[in-house]
């Protein structure tokens, strides 16, 4: 009995099992949790972190790191609003945001992968730089949208499902395919497993890493546009701490910080666990201050579980 339980919890799908159990418990004991309204609200709340977690997964899988995503989300959201206001064209606004995000990502990638500066330091610097740019171009204030159609990006829906949730679902699907079905995904994991060996086996290590950072910037931009649309303005202080949530979600989902290990389903579960924890605490009217504590506890628990799993079976 105990041994089968142990096997279940520590096996490949351990996190999924725990997630399922938690989901059932929460559905039964928390009133209103399963109402359509709440579920949609929950999903909408995880869109930003979910989108960023997709690309963060690739980044961590190559042993890299990106702390600048929170700033980039705010900055690109601001860009979207300001370009839209200036040109009167929403597509141009979105394009501007994506270009800005990609540029930030490329800069990160080139400094880290080509020049060889530590990712933690580099993105710590760009995180502040980009936050600074956002504050400078907005003069530190929220910038309202002049074009009402801009709200529709987040408010519109397809078959009753809000567009942002659709976008997130598509992102999960696409990144799942990229990771498991493409040469690019396999190379990403190979680099994380051993960068020197990957290079000798003919993998374009530098190019792959730069590309991943660029993708990270684009994903942050998409998240930034959706967020700006939802809050109907560009906020220079939006999405602070997002980088940590995204990394937490990945780690919760079994992505190894030492690289080489990542699954899309794991990251999806990680994102959902964080989202549900927050949602439930809101439903139960728990003070926001405690939410930090709970998130910390969840993360520690996940890491301990992972540690237990590695030491009980496979080495390293």
């Amino acid at each position: 009995m105990t041994s089968t339980l142990k096997k279940l919890l520590l096996g490949e799908q351990g996190l999924l099992v725990i997630f399922a159990i938690a989901l059932v418990l929460v559905s039964v004991f928390v009133p209103n949790f399963l109402s359509t309204r709440n579920v949609i609200g929950l999903l909408q709340a995880v869109v930003t972190v979910g989108l960023v977690a997709c690309s963060m997964m690739l980044c961590l899988a190559t042993r890299d790191f990106d702390l600048s995503v929170g700033s980039t989300v705010a900055f690109t959201g601001m860009m979207a609003v300001m370009v839209t206001n200036a040109t009167g064209s929403i597509p141009l606004g979105i394009l501007g945001a994506i270009a800005a995000g990609a540029a930030v990502g490329m800069v990160n990638g080139i400094i880290i992968a080509k020049i060889g500066i530590n990712a933690l330091i580099t993105t710590l610097a760009t995180m502040q730089l980009v936050r600074g740019f956002g504050l400078i171009i907005s003069d530190g204030r929220a910038v309202g949208v002049k074009e009402p159609a801009f709200y529709n990006i987040a408010l519109s829906n397809v078959f009753g499902i809000p567009t942002p949730i659709i976008v997130l679902a598509v992102a999960f699907l696409v990144f799942g395919i990229v990771l498991n079905r493409t040469v690019f995904g396999r190379n990403t994991l190979a680099i994380g497993g051993n960068p020197d060996a990957a290079r000798l086996a003919g993998v374009k290590v530098v190019r792959t890493r730069v590309t991943i950072f660029a993708i990270q910037g684009v994903m942050a931009a998409i998240a930034g546009v959706l967020l700006a649309s939802r809050i109907t303005s560009g906020q220079p202080n939006a999405a602070t701490g997002l980088e940590l949530s995204a990394i937490s979600a990945c780690v919760l989902g079994g992505v190894s910080l030492a690289g080489g290990r990542a699954t899309m389903t794991g990251v999806m579960v990680g994102v959902m666990i964080l989202g549900i924890a927050e949602n439930v605490m809101n439903l139960l009217n728990i003070q926001a201050f405690y939410q930090y504590v709970v998130r910390g506890v969840i993360l520690l628990f996940a890491v301990l579980l992972d540690n237990l799993r590695t030491s009980s079976g496979i080495r390293r």
Binding site: R181, T182, V183, F184, R186, N187, L189, A190, G192, G193, N194, D196, A197, A198, R199, L200, A201, G202, V203, K204, S256, A258, G259, G260, R261, G313, I314, R315, R316
Partner: protein
């Protein structure tokens, strides 16, 4: 008979793998005990259990009659058990002295005295005849030197039991001698030494007694090696007879295919040139640090070449990128599989298909069916011992990892030149002769094969021609009719030492 050291009924299982089953044997005080067996037979697992790194599912370890329970590596070393693992464990960014003193730095009022530490360690190294600078960073040392340092580390603490897992796998015969003198001294102090090796010569030269493992079970135990023959051990190991492991046959050689001339990289230059013909197996022999691996890395572009030319069938270039080399039809299998061979945490399948998959993937998408097919083919051809192609390569035994890396290049198509650096490092006799047969087959199909090896019998056994390197230059060339052990060794030694050994 009373044994000083004993394994009793050791059993160890990993998910899907029974690594050891009820293994028991003993070793007398001051004896060197050989441990042999095929790749994946369980030798390293047995050693890991002794080191406290892994725990057995059942069984016990006894030292001097007392049962030992090692919960950790620290625990084992505190109880006088030192282990040198198959894959080296030194910290690359620290100096040799720091590595040797790790965990017990000599200090004065809490401050580490660097000077004293380096002087102390240098004294020990010199005493053992190890030609390594105590102040050098480990990452700057060649693999063989690292291996010596690791053994010195075990010798420095007064250990009751020392286990050496394939300590000579990257040492040349000369460096091995230094190691053997170290072992003799430890033995005289009454230390029990467990000695894992795939080299039969060493076992007979060093060991007083030995054990053979097969499929995780005890296949034979010899309390004395008197009257034991090599053939007997081989058949105990593999369960069949192997008559001639070299099995070399004359092959017709084709036209000149590869010309290498005066390559130089950022770190060192290798003047001189050589050529290799189609279908030729060309050996590179030399001492550690002679520049053989460096030369191969420059040919392949693993370290970008700055000057010099490689000419491949008339196409002349300076290699700077492995990717380019693979497209030109050159593959390189490095000597240090842990550092730049295996992709940790990834499956056997992915490790095999990483390079060759570009041949079949379309528009950046994988073809899972083809990946599986190719992986299975290599696993079968090389007899890789793994529960499935999905197994994490880090969980394979050392020799099986080596086979997977070879398989990575055998999966390629259109290769013209295959460079293998210590191709049979850590590979058992049976598999060795299979790999040689494979190399012959490739050569017969017209592949040019460059083999770097520190094993004299191997170089002489399988190569059509041998270049000897010494101090970064090619010092001599031999063909099969001019091969002789003395001549090859003499050419490998720098001038100064040449006479002393000849005398």
């Amino acid at each position: 008979m009373s044994y000083f050291f004993e394994y009793r009924g050791i059993t160890k299982t990993y998910p899907g793998v029974k690594a050891l089953e009820d293994v028991s044997f003993g070793v007398r005080r001051g004896a060197v005990h050989g441990l042999m067996g095929e790749n994946g037979a369980g030798k390293s697992t047995l050693i890991r259990i002794l080191s406290g790194d892994q725990q057995a599912n059942a069984g016990a370890i006894l030292i001097d009659g007392a049962e030992q329970k090692f919960a950790s590596v620290r625990d084992a070393s505190d109880n006088g058990v030192m282990v040198v693992h198959q894959e080296l464990q030194l910290v690359p960014d620290l100096t040799v002295a720091e590595n040797l003193c790790l965990g017990r730095f000599p200090s004065r009022a809490g401050f580490v005295s660097r000077r004293r530490m380096i002087a102390d360690v240098q004294a020990v190294l010199d005493d053992y005849g190890i030609n390594v600078d105590a102040g050098a960073r480990v990452s700057a040392l060649p693999l063989g030197a690292r291996q010596m340092v690791e053994v010195a580390k075990a010798a420095m603490v007064k250990a009751r039991v020392i286990a050496l897992d394939e300590p000579t796998s990257s040492l040349s015969s000369r460096e091995s001698e230094v190691l053997f003198r170290m072992i003799a001294r430890l033995k005289a102090q009454g230390t029990v030494i467990l000695y894992v090796s795939h080299r039969m010569d060493e076992i007979f030269q060093l060991c007083d007694s030995m054990t053979v493992l097969r499929d995780g079970r005890l296949a034979a135990h010899h309390d004395s090696l008197e009257g034991v023959t090599r053939a007997q051990i081989v058949s105990e190991m593999v369960g069949r007879e192997i008559s001639d492991i070299w099995n070399w046959r004359a092959r017709p050689l084709g036209e000149e295919r590869l010309v290498v001339d005066g390559l130089a990289g950022a770190k060192l230059s290798i003047p001189g040139s050589f050529t290799a013909r189609k279908g030729e197996i060309l050996g590179f022999f030399g001492l550690i640090g002679a520049g053989r691996s460096e030369l191969m890395r420059l040919i392949y572009g693993a370290d970008p070449a700055r000057t010099g030319r490689v000419m491949l069938e008339g196409d002349s270039y300076t290699a700077t990128d492995p990717r380019q080399s693979i497209r030109r039809g050159i593959a390189y299998c490095s000597e240090d599989r842990k550092h730049d061979g295996i992709l940790n945490g990834r499956s056997v399948e992915e490790n095999i298909t990483i390079s060759a998959r570009r041949l079949w993937s379309k528009g950046g998408f994988l073809r899972p069916g083809r990946e599986a097919e190719v992986a299975e083919e290599q696993i079968r051809q090389l007899r890789v011992r793994t529960p499935s192609r999905f197994q994490d390569i880090a969980n394979l035994s050392g020799g099986n990892q080596q086979k997977v890396i070879l398989g990575r290049w055998l999966a390629e198509a259109g290769l013209r030149v295959l460079i293998v650096d210590e191709p049979t490092r850590g590979i058992d006799v049976g598999a060795k002769s299979e790999i040689y047969d494979l190399l012959y087959k490739l050569a017969e199909q017209g592949m040019t094969i460059l083999v770097v090896s520190s094993e004299l019998p191997e170089v002489m056994g399988i190569c059509d021609r041998v270049l000897v390197m010494c101090q970064h230059r090619i010092s001599a060339e031999f063909t099969r009719d001019t091969f002789s052990e003395q001549a090859l060794l003499a050419a490998a030694l720098p001038d100064g030492q040449n006479h002393s050994t000849a005398a």
